[in-house]
């Protein structure tokens, strides 16, 4: 049975503070066309983004903003792939995945133009984001619930994985509501670093 001192020394070597806030962005009045994290330090093992967001898309109740990453600048080439399973706003269960594209789509948000004060939420993990021997892997759980409005389109849910086919370390992340075309006020994106 360990004595008290031994227990204390065991705790002192544990990685307290291994999950740290890097930066948080909240959109102000008037909205914004994109949210950009730049100069992300390579001092963590993984990154995590937690968001609550809405766009001003006017012709549909949910929106699917894009996510792109890069090293120093955003990669806009056809170097991304995404697989996605979920329940769409029309109620259908769906699974899809495409060939490489120039952006990743897996983030559901609400459309504030049709449903006021309602936001989508999501958690996105970027694994080994600074490892220069690997392509970068993403996993995400996102969705929004619209209380059955409008006209029985109750919300959307997505469980996704994605890939950035580059061995470069990720230093930049961009979120863009390409259809929206704006993230609306009070949308918030928080970037965390996880030490390993």
């Amino acid at each position: 049975m360990p004595i008290l001192g031994t227990v204390a020394s065991q705790f002192s070597s544990k990685p307290f503070g291994s999950y740290e806030s890097i930066q948080t962005v909240t959109v102000g009045a008037g909205g914004t066309a994109s949210i950009n994290f730049t100069s992300i330090p390579a001092t963590y093992k993984h990154l995590q983004i937690r968001y609550t967001a809405a766009s001003n898309r006017s012709n549909y109740n949910v929106d699917l903003p894009s996510m792109q990453v890069g090293n120093t600048t955003i990669d806009t080439g056809n170097n991304y792939s995404t697989h996605n399973v979920g329940r769409r706003s029309d109620g259908a269960l769906a699974a899809d995945g495409g060939a490489s594209g120039n952006q990743m789509y897996f983030m559901y948000v609400a459309s504030s133009a049709l449903i006021t004060n309602t936001f989508g939420v999501g958690i996105i993990d970027i694994l080994d984001y600074a490892n220069t021997n690997k392509y970068k892997t993403f996993r995400a759980l996102t969705g929004c619930d619209l209380n059955g409005m409008p006209s029985s389109q109750g919300g959307a849910l997505s469980l996704a994985s994605a890939n950035w086919m580059s061995t470069l370390a990720i230093t930049n992340i961009r979120f863009t509501p390409v259809i929206g075309p704006l993230f609306t006020q009070y949308s918030s994106f928080a970037l965390y670093g996880i030490k390993g």
């Binding site: 066309a33 950009n36 075309p181």
Partner: protein, 78 residues
């Protein structure tokens, strides 16, 4: 003339946050992204419609007792 949309840029090394108007090139890029998105979704819808039509055809032939094509059989057999 309406104001240019803005982007939020956060420098994670300094914590500095800037709100910057999009350049003409960035607006053009956004428009291209929207076109790419629409094309991708249209292709998905087209593929789904084709698969649905194939399933409907296969079901109708099964009910009628007529031979299925290989493609029709493939959509019914896992």
């Amino acid at each position: 003339m309406s104001e240019a949309p803005t982007k939020i840029v956060v420098d994670c090394s300094t914590g500095e946050t800037q709100i910057i108007p999009l350049t003409a090139e960035e607006i053009t890029e956004r428009e291209a992204m929207a076109v790419a998105y629409a094309a991708e979704k249209a292709a998905e819808a087209e593929a789904k419609a084709a698969a649905d039509a194939l399933k409907a055809s296969a079901r109708a032939k099964l009910i009628a007792g007529t031979p299925l094509t290989e493609a029709e059989a493939a959509v019914l057999v896992i």
